[in-house]
């Protein structure tokens, strides 16, 4: 190589020129690109508010996590509250005693139960005249909706007690029935006498 013909075509180099001429048929010629047999699918455009969309997704996920956490916490409190109620001292009556013959239903004191602190096993019951008026922002307040009154079927009786009770009830039932029959007959006789006297 006598000059830089190979690099910048300055000067002469017959051997290289001969090779160029020999390979001239393969030289690059600018032509239109070939048509492909398939359609080209263009990718979708990215949304203009991509940043806000991503932020919204994060916020939604955060809210969902928070909601699940709160629900779980609420269930935990509720369950622990019930457990404590079961082991609580039930010797004190929840239902206030009423006088016999009073047609008013038994007045039940609304037990307001504060959520117990962690590790605390004592539930305080506070009698408040209007617990609804307690501001919600102050504390979480759980109210038991149903009074804890033992239904009659749950009373456990011994065999002797059951026998005695049934015998007494049977005797009273028969006595009441006989006396009622007499009373009804007496009333019917009085009515018929009254009708006859009117006639």
């Amino acid at each position: 190589m006598e000059n830089d013909y190979l690099w910048d075509k300055s000067g002469e180099d017959k051997e290289i020129e001969r090779m160029e001429n020999a390979l001239k048929g393969f030289r690059f010629q600018p032509t239109a690109p070939p048509i492909l047999p398939v359609n080209i699918l263009q990718s979708e455009e990215k949304p203009k508010f991509g940043f806000f969309a991503n932020y919204f997704k994060f916020a939604m996920a955060g809210f969902a996590c928070l909601a699940i956490l709160l629900a779980g916490f609420g269930i935990f409190l509720r369950v622990s509250n019930n457990e404590i109620e079961d082991v609580a001292d039930l010797s004190k009556p929840i239902v206030t005693p009423i006088k016999l013959g009073n047609p008013v239903e038994p007045k039940v004191i609304d037990p307001i139960i504060k959520p117990p602190a962690i590790g605390q096993n004592i539930v305080k019951k506070i009698n408040q005249p209007n617990p609804v008026s307690v501001p919600r922002t102050t504390k979480l307040v759980f109210r038991k909706t149903e009074p804890k009154v033992k239904p009659m079927k749950e009373i456990k009786l011994t065999t002797e007690e059951k026998f005695a009770y049934e015998q007494l009830m049977l005797a009273l039932s028969i006595t009441g029935k006989q006396l009622k029959e007499v009373k009804d007959k007496a009333n019917s006789v009085e009515d018929s006498t009254a009708i006859k006297s009117l006639k």
Binding site: L172, T175, K180
Partner: protein, 191 residues
């Protein structure tokens, strides 16, 4: 001297109590005559409740958290005993009238007062209701019912609120037992 008076007073009160109890027990009728009917009758109901069993039943009544039960409990607060006999027969006149007349004759004493008397030609029904008073206090009730096919005697010893009993009969926890079909069994028999 004071202790002697005190002791005398205590003995007097005790005697008074015993006399009162004895008087109250006088309201109990002798129902042994009806025992012979057990073999003849189709259905028999026999209830004898007094003493410890009655106290037990009263305690159960207090346990029951029900308004009507408490009302009944009040009505039978002073009850000392209740004795019931019910006999149902398949055919008419299977029992002897003298059996029931013997019961009625016990109630002819001046202590007993007849407060109701029902006579009906239908089934030859006769119902008599007697009460007994010790002073101002009711000490007994007796109901004697005789029909052509059935016989029933109820003897209540001690005070009882009849109106409440009539009002509450068949209600709430008083078992609605069909007397014609059911028979009572003692716990020994059940086991």
């Amino acid at each position: 001297m004071k202790s002697f008076i005190n002791h005398s007073f205590k003995i007097f009160v005790l005697l008074l109590f015993v006399i009162t109890v004895t008087k109250a027990q006088d309201a109990r009728l002798n129902l042994d005559r009806l025992k012979g009917l057990e073999t003849k009758a189709k259905d028999v109901v026999e209830v004898n409740i007094d003493g410890k069993v009655l106290d037990l039943a009263k305690r159960v009544m207090l346990k029951v958290n029900d308004k009507d039960a408490k009302t009944i409990g009040e009505a039978i607060k002073g009850l000392k005993g209740i004795y019931v006999r019910v006999y149902n027969f398949e055919k008419e006149n299977e029992y002897n009238l003298t059996d029931i007349d013997e019961i009625r004759s016990q109630l002819q004493s001046p202590d007993w007062e007849k407060i109701a008397n029902v006579r009906s030609k239908k089934n030859n029904q006769k119902i008599d209701v007697f009460t007994k008073f010790t002073g101002d206090m009711m000490s007994g009730v007796a109901v004697v019912l005789s029909e052509s096919k059935s016989l029933a005697v109820v003897n209540v010893v001690g005070p009882i609120d009849i109106d409440t009993l009539v009002e509450l009969s068949g209600r709430m926890n008083i078992p609605k037992i069909d007397i014609e079909k059911e028979t009572t069994k003692k716990p020994d028999e059940q086991e």
